[in-house]
């Protein structure tokens, strides 16, 4: 009954919407998904309202009208991303429009010459903004506001001077030029010419911004001028060029506008800046800078243009129209601000999702309990090696020459040599957090490095990467292709490295949080040096930690820390690829597993199960609230101050246990037998210990048992 009950509870907590949501929000494309949704809705809603909205020629017409603001939106987007803003786009737009008409109508330039000229002038005007904002460090908003007024005034003046000429030059009422007309009316495969150009430009811009150094600089500057400057980016220059580009893009739009309408109106581009601003913000380009892409800007412009255009075509009166636009703008910016402000906080809030785990009643380890786990003092007089010379040797291992290696917090592999291990040197500096280790056939040291992956160290101390990613699980929302917390490894006779990844949801230093969550977040991965391929072979394990190849080399043992189980994964034989439980419900939290000389296995315990913690494991919501409301330093923990080492046999019977009453080996995360001695390491210990084992084979060494005598 209770079994069934447990099962049900497990199911109930297995899948969690909050977990799904948290991992969803983590996705970078989430920022883009919202504007996209809005866009689709808007198109459907208004499209259904306006008659024959989707008929090809109408669509083409609309698209043509969208394109020119589209360019301006791109310009606005670039400036916003760089942490600025360009309100003078409208003015520039008008000037360029007028200029190109002047050149075509009055001076009769060929269109092919007009375009570059216009772009050049646009760049020039942008350069003015850029110089003021970038180098003189004026405030973007006011500066561009002023230049906007100035540009507008200039347009007016030009207009007074030339508009009548353009207008009254009767014979050139319509400036005839195939190129010009193509720009204005032509289309390519049914797509209006300016739309084609817009898409091309947007694509190039996207690639440049998101995939090239200059682009990254723009994002960096927008994300934070200070940091950008501190990392040595030339902020001034970057900003300058951003505004130049903004000018060019605007100019491009204006030329197309001129080609389409042939109108030198001084009202041209009135309110275009607002339109563009609205668009890009709606598209999810943050006004706080450093966020957004050209693609999103285009989405935004589509949204805005659909709305305004539809409102106009529905004959909505102008006032209501502007009211709606204003509300949309307000809404968009509000969302934008709030989204950025709260996104990460809310992810933090809901990321940890504890699940239900019911452990069987544990054997009593207390003194006088008479169980195999009964507390004893067998580790009391262990010799200490490298006392206070070593910071947390998670794993220890010895090579054929009897040198002792420890993987320590600083990211080193520390080596002790000499007959009393008095000589200490740093064998290799890998970085990350080196954890489990194993020697391969050629005496390369294979190391699991927390936060980095699986690395190898040649006998001469040269470090080389073996793998740091595996095949992604497509059914999972969270990208688990990177290896975040490789924990312990062992090597099969065929040279394949089997290693455990404790959790894919948390970083190295967050492992206790995973303990609170207690989800099957871990997995067993196999790396084959021969083919250099990495493959996940077992998923959904609860913090798999120790990995040890069975003596016969036909199966591997996996220790699940929080589940207190030892599993066996068959590499060959009838049960090949199958998993079976060897031991379940130990009273201790399992860490590394290693071979013993007598054909049994050593198992290190990182800590003890306590009754209250077991109870907490059966009350996920309690743990959730604890993680939320209690300061991390006061969280309930497994008792990691009393570690021990136990020995068990192939059948999974626990044979004996070793305890330290002094607490010098507060917790033991690893142990190796070597020449009749047992060496002890601990994740937070300040020493390596060793004790003489009664009745152990004094000749036995790890490498021999794996790769035979040399």
């Amino acid at each position: 009954m209770s079994q069934l009950n447990d099962g049900l509870l497990q199911l109930r907590y297995r899948w969690s919407f909050k977990k799904f949501l948290a991992e969803l929000l983590e996705k970078r494309w989430m920022d883009g998904i919202i504007p996209f949704g809005i866009m689709v809705c808007v198109i459907l809603v208004f499209g259904s309202q306006v008659e024959n909205y989707f008929s090809p020629d109408v669509l083409a017409m609309t698209a043509r009208e969208f394109a020119e603001p589209g360019f301006v939106a791109l310009a606005m987007a670039v400036t916003l991303i760089s942490g600025g803003i360009d309100l003078s786009v409208g003015g520039m737009f008008a000037i360029i429009n007028f200029l190109s008409l002047m050149l075509t109508h009055i001076y009769g330039w060929p269109a092919l010459a007009v375009v570059p000229a216009a772009l050049a002038v646009g760049a020039l005007m942008g350069a003015l903004n850029g110089f003021l904002i970038g180098f003189l460090k004026t405030r973007a908003f006011l500066t561009t506001l002023v230049t906007m007024i100035a540009f507008r005034a200039i347009v007016k003046l030009l207009n007074l001077e030339f508009a009548p000429k353009i207008a009254l030059s009767a014979k050139t009422t319509f400036y005839e030029s195939t190129v010009w007309d193509y720009m204005g009316d032509g289309s390519f495969l049914g797509i209006p010419s300016n739309v084609v150009i817009l898409l091309v430009v947007a694509f190039i811009g996207h690639v440049l911004l998101t995939r090239s150094r200059p682009g990254w600089r723009v994002y960096a500057v927008g994300g934070g001028r200070r940091s950008a400057r501190h990392v040595g980016i030339k902020v001034e220059r970057t900003i300058f060029f951003v505004y130049v580009i903004s000018g060019i893009l605007t100019a491009l739009g204006a030329v197309f506008y001129a080609a389409r309408l042939d109108s030198a109106a001084s009202e041209t581009g009135m309110g275009l800046e607002i339109l563009a601003l609205m668009a890009v913000v709606l598209g999810g380009v943050s006004i706080l800078g450093g966020k957004g892409t050209p693609g999103r800007a285009l989405m935004g412009i589509v949204i805005v243009m659909v709305i305004t255009n539809a409102l106009l075509r529905l004959g909505i009166d102008s006032a209501l129209n502007s009211l709606i636009q204003g509300l949309i703008l307000l809404f968009a910016i509000g969302i934008d601000v709030k989204w950025l402000k709260h996104l990460y906080a809310s992810i933090e809030k809901i990321y940890v999702v504890p699940t239900y785990l019911s452990l069987p009643k544990a054997l009593d380890p207390r003194p006088g309990s008479g169980t195999v786990f009964e507390f004893n003092d067998r580790l009391k007089d262990a010799e200490t090696i490298g006392l206070d010379q070593i910071d947390g040797p998670e794993d220890v291992i010895l090579d054929r020459q009897g040198r002792l290696y420890g993987s320590v917090r600083q990211g080193w592999i520390v080596r002790f040599s000499g007959d009393d291990f008095s000589k200490r040197d740093i064998f290799a500096n890998i970085g990350g957090r080196p954890l489990g280790m194993a020697f391969d056939r050629d005496e390369n040291l294979v190391v699991c490095v927390g936060g980095m992956g699986l690395y190898g160290v040649r006998p001469d101390g040269e470090v080389y990467k073996m793998t740091d990613e595996t095949n992604r699980t497509w059914t999972r929302l969270k990208d688990d292709s990177r290896i975040r917390l490789a924990d312990d490894c062992d090597i099969a006779p065929d040279g394949k490295v089997y290693f455990s990844e404790a959790t894919i949801r948390y970083k190295m230093e967050e492992w206790p949080v995973d303990g609170q969550e207690c989800r099957p977040n871990g997995r067993l991965i196999c790396y084959d040096p021969a083919t250099d391929r990495t493959k996940t072979i077992v998923r959904n394990l609860i913090f798999p930690n120790g990995v040890c190849l069975a003596h016969d080399g036909r199966s591997i043992l996996i220790g699940l820390t929080w589940k207190c189980d030892v599993l066996r994964y068959w590499l060959e034989g009838p049960k090949k690829g199958r998993i079976e439980t060897v031991i379940s419900g130990l009273p201790i939290y399992i860490d590394n597993i290693n071979r013993a000389s007598d054909g049994n296995y050593w198992l290190a315990s990182v800590g003890l199960r306590t009754p209250v913690y077991d109870l907490a494991m059966r009350m996920p919501s309690f743990r959730l609230r604890m993680v939320k409301f209690v300061p991390p330093d006061e969280w309930l923990y497994p008792n990691v101050n009393w570690g021990c080492v136990i020995k068990f046999n192939e059948q999974g019977d626990v044979l004996e246990s070793y305890w330290d009453p002094l607490g010098n080996y507060a917790h033991v995360t690893s142990m190796r037998e070597h020449m009749g001695y047992l060496y002890l390491g601990g994740l937070h210990n300040n020493r390596i210990g060793r004790i003489k084992i009664q009745g152990a084979d004094p000749e036995w060494t790890g490498p021999d048992s794996y790769w035979g005598k040399k």
Partner: protein, 365 residues
């Protein structure tokens, strides 16, 4: 359910209500520097000094007297079937002894002379301290009507408020209940001017004062509220008072106190020794709950780890302001201080948690 709602609505502000150990309560190691008068003495609970400077200790099932230059000599002066607790002299020279579950005993020249175990509306289950006013009437802090002093933590984890303040009149040998529904009244003392009565309530972390002439709930005057620990006994000092805090509050315990489902299941199914609760001593048994801060790194337990047990004596001045404090921190071994007395310049403390009698300089706080 409501608590759940409250949690979600009000962001559990109560979680952050524990004041930091700061200012006059800044942790130090002064208790660790005390001289050990006796060790391996069986869980001493309270101390009392007589006019000749002899030290009376309630320990195990008896009262012993320590005397001599450095208190090296000792004599058993009374035996009980139940562990004795709070000690105080009655003006008539008899020693008032609180007995676990058995109320009060007055010990005179001929040993136990008088017993008081029923008080008006029920047995005195948990007499923590008894103190006599100058007029000879005895005020008794009866912690709870459910458990004896030994099981104080049951009372805490059951969130009971059944404590009483009783007054016993030797003349008429009448007992009356002055106050009820207190949350574990622990220490009771008469102010220096003899005009008012001081009372500590452990579970509400308060020290309050009542005018001796008129003790009613209405006349309560809270002197200190929201202490960072659970106040125990309070005794007069030269120009002030000593107050023991026998254990500290921790976020985890406060949290568990709000988690009814978990708490009840824990109390139902788990050995009390391994509950999440404050204790007088800790660290011996490895099935005890462990908190993140406790994890040893490089073989060291951090002194600032969350205290399951702690040693703390606070010094109050005439105006009941805390002026200083003696500490024994988490990594120390002199925890659970329940009794304290001052004699001359010396301060004697009983560490019930670690079964020690300690002597320090009273001026040190």
């Amino acid at each position: 359910m409501w608590s759940r709602l409250k949690q979600s609505l009000f962001h559990r502000n109560d979680q952050y209500a524990i004041p930091p150990m700061d200012g006059v309560l800044l942790p130090n190691n002064k208790i660790d520097q005390f001289r050990v008068v006796r060790d391996s003495i069986n869980r001493p609970d309270d101390l009392e000094v007589d006019s000749d400077g002899r030290l009376y200790v309630s320990t195990g099932n008896c009262i012993i007297r320590l005397h001599g230059a450095s208190l090296e000599e000792e004599a058993v002066i009374a035996q009980f079937e139940d562990p004795p607790g709070g000690l105080n002299f009655h003006p008539d020279g008899r020693l008032m002894v609180c007995l676990d579950g058995k109320g009060l005993a007055l010990v005179g020249k001929q040993g136990v002379e008088e017993r008081l175990d029923i008080a008006g509306d029920g047995a005195i289950r948990c007499a923590n301290t008894a103190v006599a006013a100058p007029d000879g009437r005895v005020y008794i802090a009866d912690g709870t009507s459910y458990h004896g002093p030994r099981e104080w933590y049951f009372d805490l984890m059951e969130k009971r408020t059944t404590g009483r303040l009783l007054r016993y009149d030797p003349e008429t040998s009448k007992t009356e209940t002055l106050l009820g529904g207190l949350s574990f009244p622990n220490g009771v003392a008469i102010s220096h001017d003899g005009s008012s009565l001081l009372l500590t309530e452990s579970w509400s972390h308060t020290l309050s004062r009542y005018p001796l002439s008129d003790i009613r709930p209405e006349t309560r005057d809270v002197l200190i509220s929201n202490l960072p620990g659970y106040p125990g006994r309070i005794v007069p000092a030269s120009g002030g008072y000593w107050m023991t805090l026998f254990a500290m509050r921790t976020h985890l315990v406060e949290f568990v106190l709000t988690e009814d489902k978990y708490r009840e299941e824990m109390m139902r199914s788990i050995d009390p020794a391994y509950w999440i609760r404050p204790a007088l001593s800790s660290g011996e048994d490895f099935l005890e709950p462990l908190q993140a801060g406790h994890a040893k790194t490089l073989g060291v337990m951090k002194p600032w780890a969350p205290p399951r047990s702690y040693g703390l004596i606070a010094r109050l001045d005439e105006d009941y302001e805390i002026r200083g404090s003696f500490h024994c921190r988490v990594n120390g071994k002199r925890h659970g201080i329940t009794g304290v007395r001052e004699r001359g310049g010396a301060l004697y403390a009983a560490s019930k948690g670690n079964s020690l009698i300690l002597e320090g300089r009273s001026g040190g706080a």
